[in-house]
Structure formats: structure tokens, C-alpha cells
């Protein structure tokens, strides 16, 4: 029972499960806050209906995001104690700041939002939602800065046998972390937009609650259109940064083995880590990888073979993850662009488009999970890039304990996920509640 391997599995399972809920919380909270502000300002009933309908789905999702979030903090201590000891001076403070500055605000005000409908004025109640949304996204900022440190450690020195903070400003202005923030936060809005559009499409196809869902769809479409393009452009900047700071990850993302100038992008390949080459390659665009990585067709791109074997990330998941993310990202740009043309008055007459949008709900979910696979698997074998190896970071504990907790996580999370999505689907299909008063 290798505790390192089991802990990696457990961390991957817990994090990916947590991240099924987080982006929707981040994006949807902002959109709901906007809807409720519209209601507070105009007094139009349709905005209240929208707020309450999307709010209900939001709350089920929120609950799952919150409870699975505690696991992540605990796991650094329980499963990655050597890591915690070694970089806690820098990393721990980011988590503690996240809790005291952002998570408190979000968790306290969500309670006020749920139970405060009759106790607060419409404007105050909408403001509470803005606080929830702002705090949630601020949480993401701190967590992504913490991840930014793992990807590209800055602002520390090795002292007393551990990484000690010397420059806090460098840590919170870490370019890698900032690029992650501007990638993940708009991507979350994009995910929420697809969630809204997909569910709205379901009702529009059935021609029910048309006013609520037509408005919701068009609102989400604007958000989705803008964010899909922004995420792609920002992703390009992110890519150039990765090629500068984590060249091995770039090479793995593209299954690029030989160091060459005018490096090509291969559309599809089956990489073999043993033979240090691609067994199959289909479709190659010369110079594209050089262009993407360094914004220069002729730039030299270092191949995997020129990295020591023990400094190469697993190639296949990184390669496939990157393709999935970019492919789905492109698809989402096309879908939202087409919708943007239809949006004025043709949406309701385009059932095929609505049907496609209904089935497109998983697209941003898969794209975001894939993105994290690229980021985290592509960083291996390092837990903190260039500073600490994942193999040195696990707790000195018995593997059997980890095995038991891993099985428990799979069972409990599987159950919660099933119940959570059952409820979300149930309320999504049910549509807005008729007014009780």
C-alpha cells in the first residue's frame, strides 16, 4: 500500500469532485446577483422569478461545494504533512487569509440571503447576494494564488530546512497565479452561462415559462459569448507563460519529444513514454507550437527527450486534457457566437440550436476538469515546481488508513453527487414556483 499513490488518488478524487460544484457557485452567484439587482431596481416580477428559480439550483450546488471544500484544507495536513511542513510558511498563510477574508463573508451572508427575504429590503437583499458572489470569487483568488505558488514558486527562500516567506507581495502578484485567476473566474462564468442556457433551452423547447427562460437565456448568452472569447485569448497568454516557466509541461501538452525549431502542433497522437515517441501521429501543423508557445513561428521548443526522465510529467493525460479543453473551448465559442446572431428574435424559432445547447451543459464542465488535469498532472513529478517532489510530500502514515478513507470518499461522494444532481435536475425541470402570495 503506497501512501503516496493512494494520497494522490484521494486528492485527485476529492479535488475534481469539489470542482464539479465550485465553478457554478462562482459564476451563477454573480449572474443571480445581477438578476436580483434588476428586480430591486425595476420591481419587475420576472426578475424575482428568475432570481428564485436559479437561486434554488444554486443553493443545492452551493451546499455540495461547501462541504467538499473542507476536505481540501484537511488533506494538506492529513495526507501531505511533509509538504505542509516544508512550504506551510508561504502556502498556509494563503489558505488562512482565504478563510478569514473571503470564506467567512460568503458563508455568513449566504445564510442571511436564504432566510432574509422578509427581513431585508429588496435592495439590501440584492446587496447580500453581491457580497456572497464577491466573497466566493475572492476565495477563488486566494486559492488560485496558492496554486500559483505550487506551479511557480516565488517570494521565498530556503531557510531552517524549509521554504520561508521573504516577499509577500511577490506571492500575491505571482504572474502564474494571476493568469490562473483570469482564466478560471471567467471560465466559471462561462460554465454558469451554459448551465443557464441549457436549462432555459429545455423549457423554451417545451414552450413553458417563456418569459423567464427567454430572458435568462439571452442574459446568459451575452455572458457566455464574452467569456468564451476572453478565456481563449487569456488561455493563449497563459500558454506562453507556461512555456517560459514550465517547459516540460508544454512539451507534454503537445507530446513533443524532439527539440526542434518550427515545432509543429499534432492534432492527435498516441504518445509512448517507454519508446519516447508518438506511436501514431495524425495531422501536423508546422510551426504552430512555436507560435503558440513563444509567439514566433521559428522559435525552438524543447522536446521531452531533453528533460531527464525523472522530470517528465505523464504525457498521455496532459496531452489529451489539453486537447479536450481547447476543443471544447472552441466549440463553446462557435455555439455562443451562433446564438449571438440569433439572440434578438430568432431564438425561439431555432429548436435545433436550443436542443444542442441543452446537451451542451457538460461541455464547460469537462473543459474545466481537463484544464485542471493539464495544470496538475502536467506539473508532476513536482508538487511545487522545481522545489519539492510529490513523492517527498506525503505524510509518513500507513497506506491502509489512506485506502480506507479513499474508499469512503468514493462511496460518500458518489452518493452525494447522485443525490445533488438528482435534486438539481428535479428542480430544473420543475421550473419556477408559482407565487405563493
Amino acid at each position: 500500500m503506497d501512501p503516496v499513490f493512494l494520497s494522490r488518488l484521494q486528492f485527485a478524487a476529492a479535488t475534481m469532485f469539489h470542482f464539479l460544484f465550485v465553478p457554478l457557485t462562482l459564476g451563477l452567484s454573480l449572474i443571480i446577483a445581477y438578476m436580483e439587482t434588476k428586480y430591486a431596481k425595476t420591481g419587475e416580477e420576472v426578475y424575482l422569478k428568475m432570481t428564485k428559480f436559479w437561486g434554488k439550483l444554486f443553493l443545492v450546488n452551493f451546499a455540495l461545494g461547501v462541504v467538499t471544500g473542507i476536505t481540501l484544507e484537511f488533506q494538506f495536513g492529513t495526507n501531505w504533512s511533509r509538504y505542509s511542513e516544508y512550504v506551510g510558511d508561504v502556502f498556509g498563510s494563503l489558505l488562512a487569509i482565504e478563510a478569514s477574508v473571503a470564506f467567512f463573508l460568503e458563508s455568513t451572508f449566504i445564510g442571511i440571503w436564504i432566510f432574509g427575504w422578509k427581513k431585508l429590503s429588496a435592495k439590501a437583499h440584492a446587496t447580500v447576494m453581491w457580497l456572497v458572489a464577491g466573497a466566493g470569487n475572492l476565495s477563488a483568488v486566494w486559492i488560485l494564488l496558492a496554486n500559483g505558488f505550487m506551479q511557480h514558486p516565488v517570494g521565498y527562500t530556503i531557510n531552517n530546512g524549509r521554504a520561508e516567506l521573504v516577499d509577500f507581495l511577490a506571492v500575491i502578484t505571482n504572474k502564474h497565479g494571476l493568469l490562473e485567476i483570469f482564466h478560471v473566474v471567467p471560465a466559471s462564468l462561462l460554465l454558469a452561462a451554459f448551465f443557464i442556457m441549457g436549462i432555459s433551452a429545455y423549457h423554451l423547447l417545451k414552450k413553458q415559462h417563456v418569459e423567464v427562460f427567454h430572458k435568462s437565456f439571452r442574459m446568459a448568452l451575452v455572458v457566455g459569448f464574452v467569456c468564451s472569447i476572453f478565456v481563449a485569448i487569456e488561455g493563449d497568454l497563459h500558454g506562453t507563460n507556461v512555456s517560459a516557466t514550465q517547459p516540460a509541461k508544454l512539451a507534454a501538452m503537445e507530446a513533443h519529444w524532439e527539440t526542434t525549431k518550427r515545432a509543429p502542433i499534432i492534432l492527435f497522437a498516441i504518445p509512448s513514454e517507454e519508446q519516447e515517441k508518438n506511436l501514431v501521429e495524425i495531422g501536423s501543423i508546422p510551426g504552430m507550437l512555436s507560435l503558440l508557445g513563444y509567439h514566433d513561428f521559428n522559435a525552438e521548443v524543447k522536446g521531452l527527450r531533453d528533460f531527464p526522465k525523472d522530470e517528465r510529467p505523464p504525457v498521455l493525460p496532459t496531452f489529451i486534457g489539453f486537447r479536450t479543453m481547447v476543443g471544447l473551448g472552441t466549440l463553446m465559442i462557435l455555439l455562443t457566437s451562433y446564438g449571438f446572431i440569433l439572440r434578438r428574435n430568432k431564438l425561439l424559432e431555432s429548436p435545433t440550436y436550443l436542443k444542442i445547447m441543452m446537451f451542451a451543459i457538460p461541455a464547460p464542465y469537462i473543459a474545466m476538469e481537463s484544464g485542471w488535469i493539464v495544470a496538475e498532472v502536467g506539473r508532476q513529478p513536482w508538487i511545487v515546481y522545481g522545489l519539492m517532489r510529490t513523492s517527498q510530500a506525503a505524510s509518513p502514515i500507513d497506506g491502509i488508513q489512506v485506502l480506507i478513507s479513499l474508499i469512503a470518499f468514493i462511496l460518500v461522494y458518489g452518493l452525494l453527487g447522485a443525490v445533488g444532481y438528482y435534486l438539481i435536475v428535479k428542480f430544473a425541470k420543475k421550473g419556477p414556483e408559482p407565487e405563493t402570495e
Binding site: S81, D89, S100, S107, E164, I397
Partner: protein, 342 residues
């Protein structure tokens, strides 16, 4: 030295605030299956803590996060040594958290029963295990200079450890019943009041046994004999414990709740003051003890974190107090009819 000592105090304070705030949630959950007879009563209990429990739970994340940030080595050794009990607490908290949201979403008795069980077990278990864990920390945990744990999880359930667990459970029951006395009415309130009165003598007895047992099972009193002024902490806890019963008799529920909060604060600091400067003592050799001085972060991190905490924790307390005031009244039928009420 000063900075590290301040952080030791803050570390204890954050744990104490977590025990006070989420403590009454745990207490409500523990008595939930016994005094909530009807569905309406059970929903009233859930909604009595409904707007507050989530914000309360963040004190745990902050206490954990601050342990990580200010004493990374303690965080590492404590969390990995106590792997199994912490995982149990974690699963309990997860199931408790979702049961609020899930329970009233489907009208089915079997469905509600599942989440009722998750809610009550998910409240009782953390109360018990935090008590067991802290009592074991007071005694010392078998880990070596490499942070390697040499114990057995079942040994955490030694008599003194269990005594600590029982004490926590009884404290939280008292505290939770006081909260229910504030926010409920009718039969449910009467049952909650009767719990505050029946639980109290048992709590007093266990607290006395715990104070005596601590003398024999732990080195906590060493600090007290060195600085007798510390005995004031015990005095405050005892006065607050009696005050909560007196206020209960006078039907001053909020004061009774405040007094039980002070009791919990006093009990936590009884341990924290006795531990100083140890955060996580080793039972194998005193030389392995993790203290505020040998396990802390760098002075820069401690200073930055202190700035953050000094600015933001008062802000947090301010808006949480506002939330408490907003939701201090009796839970009414109207509250239960809210779309998203639990």
C-alpha cells in the same frame, strides 16, 4: 518570542470561538432526535440554526488554516497523527452540512429519516471526537522527532480521552438547548428547557471529574502552580457554568446561552493555558514536543498573518453578530414557509 506567544493565544482563541459558535449547532443536532417529535418541530430546530451554522463552521477552517499558517509543523504532525479521527470528523461534517439542504427537498418519510440520522450523528460525532482529540493532546500524543506517529487510533479512546469527549458533548448539549430555548416556543421550547435543567447536574459532575482527572492524567496543572493567577480561568468557567443554570431558572434564555458560551471559552482556555507553550506535546519524549517556539512560521509570516487577523476577525465578528441579531427571534410558521427554508 512575543509574536509566537500572541499566536499561541490566537490559536487557542480561534478554537474556542469555533467550539462556542458551531458548538450550539452540534448541541442542537445531538438532542434533535430526542426532542423533535414532529416534522414541524424538527424543521423548527433545523431552521433555528439554519441561517448561522455555515458561518459558524468557518471558524473551524480558520482555526485549521491558522494552525497551518502560524505553526505549519504542528499542522503537519497533528493532522497526520490524528488521521482517522479527523477523517471521521470530516465525513460527519460533510453529512451534517448536506442534510440541512437535502432533508426538506423531497416529501418522503424514509428520505427525511436518512437525513435526520445524518444530521444528528453528524453533529454528535464531531462534538465527541473533538473532545477526545483535545483530551489526548493534553496527555500527549505518541510521535517521534521525525513527526512519525507510533500510536494506535483505538488508544485515543482511553478513559481520560473519552471523558474529554463526554464533557464536550454535554457542554454542547447545554449550549444548544439554551439556543433552542431562545428560538423556539411551545412544547419544543419546554423540552429544550427541560434539557437545560436535566443536563446541567450531569455536566457539573463530569466537569468536576475532568478537572480532577486532568491533575492525574496530564501535566496541565504545572503551569497553574507556576502562575496561580491562571486559576482565574477555571474560576470564570465555574462561575459561568453556575450562571447558565441560574439564568435558565430565571427564564433569561439569551443570558443563559451567553453564560454557556463563556463556560466553553473557559474550558478551552483551561486546556490552552495548561498546554503553553506546547501546541502538540509528544508522549514519547518531552524533547519532541511541538511548541509555539520550535514549530512556528517565520516572523514575517507571523506578522503578515497578525495584520490580517487583527483587521479582518473583528469585521467577521461584527457581521456575524449582526446575523445573530437578525435571526434571534422565535422561528415562526412563516419562516418555515420560505422557499428555501430547511
Amino acid at each position: 518570542m512575543v509574536l509566537q506567544s500572541i499566536w499561541f493565544f490566537l490559536w487557542g482563541l480561534l478554537w474556542a470561538v469555533f467550539f462556542i459558535t458551531d458548538g450550539f449547532d452540534f448541541g442542537v443536532g445531538t438532542v434533535y432526535p430526542f426532542i423533535g417529535k414532529t416534522d414541524t418541530e424538527r424543521r423548527t430546530m433545523l431552521n433555528a440554526i439554519g441561517p448561522l451554522w455555515d458561518g459558524n463552521e468557518v471558524w473551524l477552517l480558520t482555526a485549521g488554516g491558522v494552525t497551518f499558517a502560524a505553526f505549519p509543523k504542528v499542522y503537519a504532525v497533528m493532522f497526520s497523527s490524528l488521521y482517522t479521527p479527523l477523517m471521521l470528523i470530516l465525513f460527519a461534517l460533510i453529512l451534517r452540512g448536506v442534510s440541512f439542504e437535502f432533508r426538506s427537498k423531497i416529501e418522503s418519510d424514509a428520505w427525511k429519516k436518512v437525513w435526520d440520522t445524518c444530521f444528528s450523528v453528524g453533529s454528535f460525532l464531531p462534538a465527541l471526537l473533538f473532545g477526545v482529540a483535545f483530551a489526548n493532546i493534553f496527555q500527549g500524543i505518541p510521535f517521534d522527532d521525525q513527526g512519525l506517529y507510533h500510536g494506535n487510533t483505538l488508544k485515543l479512546l482511553n478513559p481520560y480521552g473519552l471523558l474529554g469527549g463526554v464533557l464536550f458533548v454535554l457542554l454542547f448539549i447545554q449550549h444548544g438547548a439554551n439556543w433552542l430555548a431562545i428560538r423556539t416556543d411551545g412544547d419544543l421550547q419546554q423540552r429544550a428547557i427541560s434539557i437545560t435543567r436535566k443536563n446541567w447536574p450531569i455536566l457539573v459532575a463530569v466537569a468536576v471529574i475532568f478537572l480532577i482527572a486532568s491533575y492525574f492524567a496530564t501535566p496541565l496543572y504545572d503551569n497553574y502552580f507556576k502562575n496561580p493567577v491562571l486559576f482565574l480561568i477555571i474560576l470564570v468557567a465555574v462561575i459561568a457554568l453556575f450562571a447558565t443554570r441560574i439564568f435558565s431558572a430565571k427564564q433569561a434564555w439569551f443570558k443563559a446561552w451567553f453564560a454557556s458560551a463563556v463556560t466553553i471559552m473557559g474550558c478551552t482556555f483551561f486546556g490552552v493555558a495548561g498546554l503553553f507553550p506546547n501546541l502538540f506535546p509528544s508522549s514519547l519524549d518531552k524533547a519532541y514536543n511541538l511548541t509555539a517556539f520550535n514549530a512556528s512560521s517565520s516572523p514575517l509570516t507571523l506578522k503578515i498573518m497578525l495584520t490580517v487577523v487583527v483587521i479582518f476577525i473583528p469585521v467577521v465578528i461584527a457581521y456575524q453578530v449582526w446575523a445573530y441579531i437578525l435571526f434571534k427571534d422565535t422561528v415562526t410558521k412563516k419562516d418555515l414557509e420560505l422557499d428555501d427554508a430547511y
